[in-house]
């Protein structure tokens, strides 16, 4: 699969909100989930992920909380906030509109 770097970078906020909207996650888990679910398409550099998570947290879309795991270690889990859920809905709607508009233009005409 060929990927557009700018497109991937630009979609990080939507992807993070969507993923964390399904269940609270910690940084390493997010990287793995993104990679697995997209079959390797979304491979973010870890150093890019954390500033993005903190930016969303600062904006009030996510809330980070230290929680113990089964092994007794602490990890910082990110939860989506109500404000984040609202933004996620907006982003979903934007994406649907964008996709349908793109399909109308870009898909080959079938006879």
């Amino acid at each position: 699969m060929r990927k557009q770097t700018e497109l991937v970078k630009g979609s990080i906020d939507s992807l993070l909100l969507c993923l964390i909207g399904q269940q609270p996650m910690y940084g390493y888990q997010i990287i793995k989930e993104l990679e697995d679910k997209s079959q390797g398409y979304f491979k973010y550099k870890e150093g890019t992920l954390y500033p993005a998570l903190h930016r969303l947290e600062k904006a009030g879309f996510l809330a980070g909380k230290w929680e113990p795991t089964t092994g007794g270690r602490q990890r910082r889990y990110y939860h989506i906030t109500n404000k984040g859920k609202g933004i996620l809905e907006q982003k979903r709607a934007q994406w649907r509109d964008f996709l349908s508009a793109m399909n109308m233009i870009i898909q080959p005409v079938t006879a």
Binding site: K45, Y50, R55, Q74
Partner: protein, 302 residues
């Protein structure tokens, strides 16, 4: 392995220059991430040192991660920018409208400023606090200058005791904030550059500057302009994300303040202008230098 991880986290800490509580949070989170990542790589059969190396490469340079974090957390809102610029704007208005002549205005102003500075100090020391703090310390400095005009014995006593005590107190507060971010301590020190400019403009003869009311009166529009320049540069400082742009903004405003002082004084020449610019720019460099010394003593230990 531990040594390499320590080095990475230490470098990250050095470049983060954020509130220590945030710094520790970020470092703790990345440390947990590195542990997870290394564990998985080791489970896949990679030796410990290679696993760590691969993991750190994946994270990217600590300088880049730190810069991105800095830009995330340190950009203030427009409200914060306005709040930080407010004390400068207040003084710009007071001098523009010549309200400073009214003997009641300045004490009332300083009481309000001190109240707001104390409020900010007790509520997490937000970034807008620094200019307010600067003005609340101004009466202490101004008292020292005024004491120098007393008869000889008092002037010597002031030089021997009061001024060293004030300098110690100012250094103590400045170093306290440098631990957080030296660039913010500039917001506190920078109004002093305007004060130095006035003294230089007033000191047209050797000896103590001639701070007559007539001089203050004639110089008032220029003083107002100086405060306006400070207000704009502080607001920009709070809004800008990149650290180098912030420092450049303050440096530029320092040059503008020097230019205003020279134009206003009529008698100061190019040498005074260069001297004043150098002095103001040293205000930018000293905190950076001291911060390096302060931070050198703090280390991340795992």
């Amino acid at each position: 392995m531990k040594q390499e991880l320590n080095r990475y986290l230490q470098s990250l800490k050095t470049h983060l220059t954020m509130d220590p509580a945030f710094e520790n949070e970020v470092i703790r989170e990345l440390e947990a991430h590195i542990e997870d990542s290394c564990q998985e790589l080791q489970n896949a059969g990679l030796p410990e040192d290679q696993a760590l190396e691969k993991c750190l490469t994946g994270l990217g340079s600590p300088k880049t991660v730190a810069r991105q974090m800095y830009e995330t957390y340190n950009q203030g809102t427009w409200q914060q920018a306005l709040l930080a610029a407010t004390p400068h704007l207040l003084f710009a208005i007071i001098f523009a409208l010549k309200w400073w002549i009214d003997i009641n205005i300045l004490p009332i102003m300083f009481i309000i400023i001190l109240g707001i500075a104390l409020y900010g100090w007790r509520h997490g020391k937000p970034y807008w606090l620094f200019p307010w703090l600067s003005y609340s310390l101004f009466p202490i400095v101004a008292a020292g200058v005024a004491l120098l005009y007393l008869p000889a014995v008092w002037a010597w006593l002031t030089l021997a005791f009061y001024i060293p005590l004030v300098l110690w107190f100012l250094s103590f507060i400045t170093i306290k904030f440098m631990r957080r971010d030296w660039s913010y301590s500039l917001l506190m020190l920078f109004p002093a550059s305007a004060f130095i400019g006035w003294l230089l403009a007033a000191g047209q003869k050797p000896g103590f500057p001639n701070l007559k009311i007539s001089f203050m009166y004639n110089f008032a529009p220029w003083t107002s302009l100086t405060f306006l320049v400070l207000a704009i540069s502080v607001a920009l400082f709070i809004r800008l994300r990149q650290r180098w742009l912030r420092i450049a903004t303050l440096a530029t405003s320092g040059v503008v303040i020097s230019l205003v002082t020279i134009l206003a004084s009529n008698q100061l020449g190019l040498a005074s202008f260069i001297g004043l610019v150098m002095l103001i720019l040293s205000f930018l460099l000293i905190p950076a230098f001291v911060e390096r010394k302060v931070r050198r003593n703090q280390s991340v230990i795992i």
